[in-house]
């Protein structure tokens, strides 16, 4: 019989060996195609090389070959989870150069769909992030199925408005393409009421769960200095203590007339980013209610019924239009040469800049934390790679 004391096995590991591991390009937590080449010491990551570009389609070259009327529906394919916001940035840049007037009703409709889009995008983020963090959260897929169910309600609204569920082509230079169909506002208000209640439900499910808190609190801290230096934006920036929201800092469209709160958290960890987005859910719903209450009557476009796609000509000039999208500053830097197509177009993708912070924050964490950090950054690879 051996003694009751268990034999201690000495592993021959003293931190002298480093392992290079590929996480991706096909990894479920990447939500797209992303490869992280990790250098590990045991379970601890000491270096990350982020490899991107798997979804690159050279949108910027493509935009030089398409007219101002054609490109907005392609713009939605950069950030396909929040397609409305990229369309918004592009048409706004063209309108800024051409000083094209947009009717008030169209501005309200733009804000309406942008805020619904933010809610839909945050719902997808919450579900997939919690699913990544796995079984500890009450079966892993539970929250995911709930949020997808709610996101479906918003996609149904978009479908009855535009006819498409994912990529819309709703924006056009000078306004929007469609007006609200009969009964749409009523069903939108019903959806908003449903969502309001469900968000509190998610919060209880997550914040009462010690496993969730342990995986989110103090993990992936981004300091304010790093946040600005890398240029992250949106909920990440506001989670790091910077009160910067373009809807407030540079009120575009009709945001100046609307009442909403910009949430800021100072701890900079995954939990802070979660808290910021949970407040944004409610604030977006609040904006949707205000817009439906005050929606003015009138036309939805200043340039309706264009006969040919080349009819929208933008005079010589340049502009940088930026929109506070679900993931942050979606910017479109546009140079027009007076023809029907842009001379140069640059996308400042919020996800690209947000992802660039990863190599600075991951080292020092365990491999399992990468999943939590990646999820809290919420990158969409269509927008990273463009």
């Amino acid at each position: 019989m051996s003694s009751a004391t268990p034999t201690r096995v000495e592993l021959d590991y003293a931190g002298s060996e480093r392992l290079t591991m590929n996480m991706g390009p096909q990894h479920p937590s990447a939500h797209g195609v992303f490869r992280a080449v990790l250098t590990l010491e045991g379970e601890t990551v000491i270096d990350v090389d982020a490899v991107i570009g798997y979804l690159h389609r050279c949108h910027e070259k493509l935009a030089e070959t398409l007219t101002y009327a054609q490109y907005p529906s392609i713009a939605s394919k950069t950030d396909y989870v929040a397609a409305m916001t990229s369309e918004f940035a592009y048409v706004r840049a063209a309108e800024m150069i051409g000083k094209i007037e947009v009717p008030q009703r169209a501005e309200y409709l733009r804000v309406l769909v942008s805020e619904l889009q933010r809610v839909a995008s945050h719902l997808l983020w919450l579900g997939t992030w919690c699913m990544d963090m796995g079984g500890a959260l009450g079966g892993g897929a539970t929250i995911f199925l709930y949020t997808i169910r709610e996101r479906e309600l918003i996609l149904d609204l978009f479908e009855s408005l535009v006819g498409a569920r994912l990529l819309y082509g709703f924006f056009q230079v000078g306004g929007v393409r469609y007006d609200l169909p009969d009964g749409w506002a009523a069903s939108c208000l019903e959806t908003v009421d449903v969502l309001d209640g469900r968000i509190s439900e998610y919060e209880r499910m997550l914040e009462d769960n010690p496993f969730f808190m342990a995986r989110a609190e103090g993990v992936g801290v981004i300091s304010r200095e790093l946040a600005e230096d890398v240029g992250i934006s949106g909920p990440l920036l506001r989670g790091s203590g910077v009160a910067y929201d373009l809807r407030r800092a540079e009120p575009y469209s009709v945001y100046g007339d609307l009442d909403f709160v910009v949430p800021v958290e100072s701890s900079g960890d995954c939990l802070a980013r979660y808290r910021v987005r949970m407040v944004e859910f409610r604030e977006s719903l609040k904006i949707v209610r205000q817009v439906l209450d005050t929606l003015p009557a009138g036309p939805v476009s200043s340039r309706p019924g264009l006969k040919s796609v080349a009819q929208t000509r933008i005079p010589k000039g340049e502009a940088y239009a930026r929109i506070e999208g679900a993931r942050g500053e979606v910017g479109c830097y546009l140079i027009a040469d007076g023809s029907a197509k842009p001379y140069r177009m640059k996308w400042r993708g919020a996800s690209f800049s947000n992802l660039a912070v990863l190599p600075h924050i991951i080292p020092g964490h365990k491999v399992s934390d990468i999943v939590a950090i990646m999820g809290s950054v919420d990158p969409v690879f269509g927008e990273v790679d463009r």
């Binding site: 070259k61 800092a249 140069r344 640059k346």
Partner: protein, 150 residues
């Protein structure tokens, strides 16, 4: 830091700069003032937020390098431009100053072939390492195939 105050400071320190009122404030500089200006903008104008860096191909007139930085506390936005003369394809790197410039400069190198002097890790970012040419140059034809196909 108001936009007028910033314009005055820029005028005092950089006589060679042309400033257009914005927003965003647009500053055009010769390439040798590129790095000193970025340092000045970060320290004195407190533009610590790195928004983006890109380039524009003006065919036989050379390339523009375009930088956007912000002062998020005072809500001051700055677009800074410099012209690389035809045949010149190198520009000082801002990566030692702004960590966000790392990926953006790699993208500008990838798409325009601009070599950023002093960049710690200048390699392609979106295209594969063996890609030939720089697609956002106007001389890179969009309607002809570029073998090898992949």
């Amino acid at each position: 830091m108001t936009s007028e105050h910033a314009t005055t400071l820029i005028g005092e320190r950089f006589g060679s700069a042309q400033v257009e009122n914005g927003p965003p404030l647009t500053v055009t500089l010769p390439v040798d003032a590129w790095l000193p200006f970025a340092q000045f903008a970060k320290d004195e104008l407190r533009c610590r937020y790195f928004s983006f860096l890109t380039a524009v191909d003006w065919k036989d007139q050379g390339l523009d390098v375009v930088l956007k930085i912000d002062n998020v506390d005072d809500n001051l936005s700055l677009i800074v431009k410099t012209r690389l003369e035809p045949g010149v394809s190198s520009c000082p790197s801002l990566t030692p100053l702004y960590r966000g410039a790392n990926w953006m400069e790699r993208e500008a190198y990838d798409m325009f072939g601009i070599v950023f002097e002093g960049h710690p890790d200048l390699r392609r970012i979106l295209l594969t390492d063996d890609w030939e040419g720089h697609p956002l140059l106007k001389s890179y034809a969009v309607d002809t195939p570029h073998p090898p196909y992949r």
